[in-house]
């Protein structure tokens, strides 16, 4: 019984180590790929934004529609920032 527990603990700790390692690796990979990271953060932020949109429209939209609409708003803002970036450092484009 005791052995089993320790084994389980071992398994657990090794699993958590794997999770940690994987997370570390994912984070590391993210730093190489900026775009997916920004996309993911954008989608997360959208989760916060969507209820606000839902509340603001006062029931005209379904929750899914609110989520998409908030996403569209975010995309618009992102495009605007991108355009500002192009405006000030056009050499890079």
């Amino acid at each position: 019984m005791k052995r089993i527990t320790s084994q389980r603990q071992n398994a657990l700790s090794s699993a958590s180590a794997t999770v940690l390692e994987t997370t570390a690796e994912i984070v590391e990979r993210w730093q190489q790929h900026k775009l997916p990271r920004y996309l993911f953060l954008g989608l997360c932020f959208n989760l916060v934004l969507a209820p606000a949109v839902f509340a603001a429209t006062g029931g005209d939209l379904s929750k899914v529609q609110a989520y998409w609409l908030a996403g569209l708003g975010l995309v618009t803002v992102a495009l605007s920032i991108y355009l500002f970036f192009v405006m000030f450092v056009p050499e890079k484009f």
Partner: protein
Amino acid sequence: MQASQDSKTRQMPSGKRDTRRHTPKANMSGLYQRAVREAFVKLDPRTTAKNPVMFIVWVGTIVTALVTLDPNLFGTVQADPGEQRILNGLITLILFFTLVFANFAEAVAEGRGKAQADSLRSTRSDTMARKLLPDGTIQEVSSTELRRGDQVKVIAGDMIPADGEVIKGVASVDESAITGESAPVLKQPGTDIASSVTGGTRILSDELVLNITSDPGQGFIDRMIALVEGAERSKTPNEIALTVLLTVLTQVFLIVVATVSPLANYVQAPTTIAILISLLVALIPTTIGGLLSAIGIAGMDRVAQFNVIATSGRAVEACGDINTLVLDKTGTITLGNRLAAEFIAVNGHSVEQVAQIALDASVFDETPEGKSIVQLAEQEHQAKTTFDPTQAEGVDFSARTRMSGTNLPNGKEARKGAVEAVKGFVRSRGGTIPDQLDAAYEKVSRLGGTPLAVCQDNDIYGVIYLKDVVKPGLKERFDQLRRMGVKTIMLTGDNRITASVIAQEAGVDDFIAEATPEDKIDVIRKEQSEGKLVAMTGDGTNDAPALAQANVGVAMNSGTQAAKEAANMVDLDSDPTKLIDLVTIGKQLLITRGALTTFSISNDIAKYFAIIPTIFAAAGIGSLNIMGLKSPQSAIISALIYNALIIPALIPLALKGVQFRPLTADQLLRRNIFIYGLGGVIAPFIAIKIIDMLIPFA
């Protein structure tokens, strides 16, 4: 005598310049298929994001694709979802093609350069080179292992492994791979003109020892390939400024369209997301946004077609801004050889007698000057060779005697040469110098010619008037340049009088006589200090500082490596007058860009009148639909189709460039504003109406 010493005749390519294309004929077959494939490959967002205007269209296409799948995605639409789906699908399709068309324009322009690069690349293959080691032994190495400063030996039949400077030997080299000129060129050390060789050319006879001047991948041909291919293409300052303006306009319309939705909702005239995106795409300057890079690439390509290699697009653009051209007289303005124009008799002789003696003295003279004397004497004065040339002996020109002539079979010595030299010759034979000689000398000098004295033994017969011949058609070109506001300055080593006559004959605006190479750089600096942009051509090593100082320096391909390094363009034909064409190309590039920008922006008026009244018809502004378009759907689709089709329709113009006319700025503005400004306002009204009538949309 200066004249025959100057006779380093350049090989002038023949034929009309614009019909000649010396760079190896590029393989253009399959260009369009490749361009079509490229157009789709370029849909990769990482590529599209380089073009702000088209990137907005790209994102718009994704969003309209989403609402095609589910029209109610961003909010429930009142209209029938099926109908919505068809409309949104159509919009998506048109936006997609707008992107593809824009990519296609760029791909075609790039494809032309690539084809040219490929054919250049084929001339360059890895060859084995004989590397000379310091101890004198020869080691066989691959040409890619050669470094700057290595010495190699090349013998007849070899491909020259890299760019270099001849340090030993004399050989003829076939440079047709880069210049297209089939006649071989003589290469020897120590001369400004003939000591540099280019990697990839072939040595035909004898052998040379070369000092390698470039590392692998940085040679002349490599640079040429990189340039025509557009790999090193960076935006020119003007392109950057235009990109800023287009981006600001895009940003403005993004804000307008994003905020118009709550406004429309407030007045109970809501629209759908797909229609708002259509409005956005119609308003942002997609026409110029899609064609901008194609115009730039095509401009470089046009320069390459003129057989000039520009080191950057910046240099090509600068050509259009040139205020002053600094031109060498010899070889640029004049043909480089003086030709006999007149005989002047002195000492009581008749003109016919002078002609006869001059003919006698020139029988063995093979220089163009000598030939022209023979021609003039025979044709104008009916002189004939009276002796048996095989019995006579030719006396060649030398720098010491400054004379040439013929020892006739009867023992007489006919001579022609610099006046002072002939005076000395006559005095040594016990002759006297007639006073009229100096008068004749002065007369010829005043006319801007070179006087050659003619004598036989101790008797001076007269003077030959050698005239500089201005290249035909140059006066008209300079007139054109003047009208375009470009000033020409002629530099010559001649004295003031001669220089002023040539200057007047050629119609240049200014000249510097008795010029030294230092004067060249001084005149450039002086012009630049007044804020002017200066262009010049040069070939010698002592031209290098001036080439570097000038805003546009064009080196002759026949010139030294130093000159080519200092210049920002290299003319493969070594034709100095090409500078004038380059000015035209530079201007044409800027005009094309400006014309399409104006056109693109003017189009917005019609698009507004097509879209706004119909999509906000619920607000009761339907009467603004002055084009009488069938329905909101039809109006949007028509405007978008126009927006997409105008890009491929203008590709030929973007690639060929707006036709350039040598007019003053005001005339050009009037003309182009009328065509592209006013035309840009009117054309879309007509086109959208026609499309609206053609499409079967209710």
